[in-house]
């Protein structure tokens, strides 16, 4: 039966892909964000005084590093059509814990390790409530956003812990020797490669897209949806914990209100980077470009003397435009395709069909 089928197989009459390879590679949302980033950098280099100094690169990368780090697991979570709003509160909580444990005389690596572990536990709590109890991630993480932040502020009150071993604060701030690139980029690049491989080159990663596009179909094709999501929230908590330790060292400052509101910066950058909030679509290189785009634009505008309110307005407009344009162009495209379909339909009935 299979033998006869293969013998009588006719040559395929349609193309493997609807568009040629170069279009599929270059004309993507991700490449558009990267192009936009390049344009912003080029324009800033040309017209903004002092943008070309090495300090710009150092400061820019150092300040966006926590957002870059957290954006990695956040991308995976949003691709599965979930969300984690508690990341910034986990940063605050782990920052406070790092401070309290260091002050209590723990060696710094032990304090930092414990804080990251607590980040993982916080992620586990999110994951448990979402996958085992079955609550929506939006509701759960709004709750844990308040909960973790409340614990952080409750542990330390309005005071701050500012004494940290100089070796570690220097390590967090120092550049890679001989370059203007801060050292935090090394763990970031390692994590970024790990997440990129996980998302784009493993069955686990492919299953995330399947879950995001259709949870039921994914479950019926043998994907353990609950376990997958649980792992994602665990990763998110752990990476946020690491970002919390870094944040603490970067500003030599453990406070309950550290990184307040950062979850929105992270999500904004992830969406700008081309990840669909409806799940099932997105790529890591776009997200990294999205974070860098928002950071670079802010840095260039500040150097040009634009006030922070205007920078917020420009960033907001950029985000809205990128989301609206995607929807608007999809609508135009559908109209065009249906118009072509109608024309073809008319010509088929009027002229002699082959």
């Amino acid at each position: 039966m299979t033998a006869t089928a293969s013998e009588t197989r006719t040559p395929r009459t349609y193309r493997t892909h609807s568009q040629p390879a170069w279009r599929r590679m270059l004309l993507t949302r991700e490449m558009a964000v990267i192009a936009l980033l390049v344009i912003v950098i080029a324009v800033a280099l040309a017209v903004v005084p002092n943008f070309d100094s090495p300090l710009t690169v150092t400061y820019l990368l150092r300040d966006v590093a926590p957002i870059l780090l957290i954006a990695l697991p956040m991308t995976l979570i949003i691709i599965t059509e979930e969300i984690d709003l508690s990341v910034a509160s986990i940063v605050g909580l782990t920052s406070v814990l790092t401070g309290i444990l260091t002050e209590a005389g723990w060696p710094f690596p032990a304090a930092a390790g414990t804080a990251i572990l607590v980040g993982a536990v916080a992620g586990t709590i999110n994951g448990f409530l979402i996958t085992v109890v079955g609550l929506p991630s939006l509701a759960v993480t709004i709750g844990t956003l308040a909960l973790f932040r409340g614990i952080a502020v409750g542990l330390l009150g309005t005071t701050a812990i500012t004494e940290f071993p100089e070796f570690w604060t220097d390590l967090a701030k120092d550049n890679i020797p001989g370059t203007p690139i801060p050292g935090i980029m090394i763990p970031f690049v390692v994590l970024a490669i790990a997440f990129a491989v996980l998302l784009h080159f493993t069955p686990f990663g492919r299953s995330l897209y399947a879950i995001g596009l259709n949870k039921e179909a994914a479950a019926f094709s043998g994907i353990d949806v609950g376990r997958t999501k649980f792992l994602l929230f665990l990763m998110s908590g752990t990476v946020s914990g690491f970002a919390g330790v870094y944040f603490t060292l970067l500003y030599s400052n453990a406070r309950g209100d550290n990184a307040i509101g950062m979850e929105l910066s992270v999500i904004a950058a992830v969406l700008l980077g081309g990840v669909s909030i409806f799940g099932g679509r997105g790529a890591l290189h776009g997200v990294i470009a999205g974070v860098l785009l928002i950071g670079t634009l802010g840095s260039a505008l500040r150097l040009a003397g634009v006030t922070s309110d205007i920078i917020n307005v420009i960033t907001g407009v950029l985000l809205v435009l990128s989301v609206v344009s995607a929807s608007l162009l999809a609508w135009i495209r559908r109209r065009r395709i249906s118009a072509i379909g109608k024309r073809k339909g008319r010509s088929a009935t009027s002229a002699d069909s082959p």
């Binding site: 800033a44 005084p49 500003y251 840095s299 917020n312 435009l321």
Partner: protein, 346 residues
Amino acid sequence: MFSHDRKRRPLGVGITALAVGAALALSGCATGGGGATDGGDGDNLAITFLPKNLGNPYFDTSNAGGEEAIEEFGGTYSEVGPSEASPTSQVTFIQTAAQQGVGGLVVSANDPEAICDALNEARDAGVKVVTFDSDTNPECRDLFINQATAEGIAKVQVDLIAEQIGDAGQIAILSASANATNQNAWIEMMEEDLAANHPNIELVETVYGDDDDQTSFDKTAALLQTYPELKGIISPTTVGIAAAARYLSTSEYKGKVALTGLGTPNQMREYVEDGTVTSFALWNPADLGYLAAYATKALIEGEITGEEGDTFEAGKLGDYEVGADASVLLGDPFVFDADNIGDFDF
């Protein structure tokens, strides 16, 4: 109609790219000249003011004083700042100033430690750092312009209330929150001053309005109910004094119970004019900004280094001397009353 798409859509982002590029180019062109070097005779007198947050009348006034001074000595003034006063929000602006290579940076710190490293990096890049209003740790800046000492603030309030109630009778204090560091330090000194120099004044209670208008209003009402013999209230916080004045001005106690403390002219103008409040104290933020600008100039020109005993001249304010911990004291607190309140808008 705009359902979400899962197709790849480059064109819209391309259009956005053009718009953003154009915006950046325009803003870059508009401000391109105002950046770093002042050129000319060598000293870079570009001075940037970084308040706790923008849109705050107090800092608008202090920075206007700074701008006036900078115009007098021919420097370049600019003002940047975050929209909200969070601990780390000033860091990016400090970094930007360092990148721009300004000569001096005048900062009111949201957090004594969080901006420390950024300030030190700016100093390594050649920027002179002066703090005013709120200090950082002393090792993070070249100079601190102190608006008033705690002793001065405590003393002026005790003197004002003693004068207004005839140096005898019951008084109460309406403070901010129970753990407010500044207020508690002042209250402690006021208690010592009262015990030592005003034996006929009895401090009956200190209540806390939590720097909340309604709570402060209610606490004032409760104080007056509890102590019918009360002759005066000191409120060493701007929120508290305004709320207490609002209560007094509409109550039977208006003009009978004295009220003083720390307030701002705009909040208190109405109550000074209607006779509820005779006088209150604060420093003059315009002078504070003015002095900070001249001190920054003196640092940039190498006239002072922040050593104790260094002296410099600050325009209309006269000569100043650097004190301990590289700080400069503006002077005694400023007393606002019906005669001078019309001169201020903050």
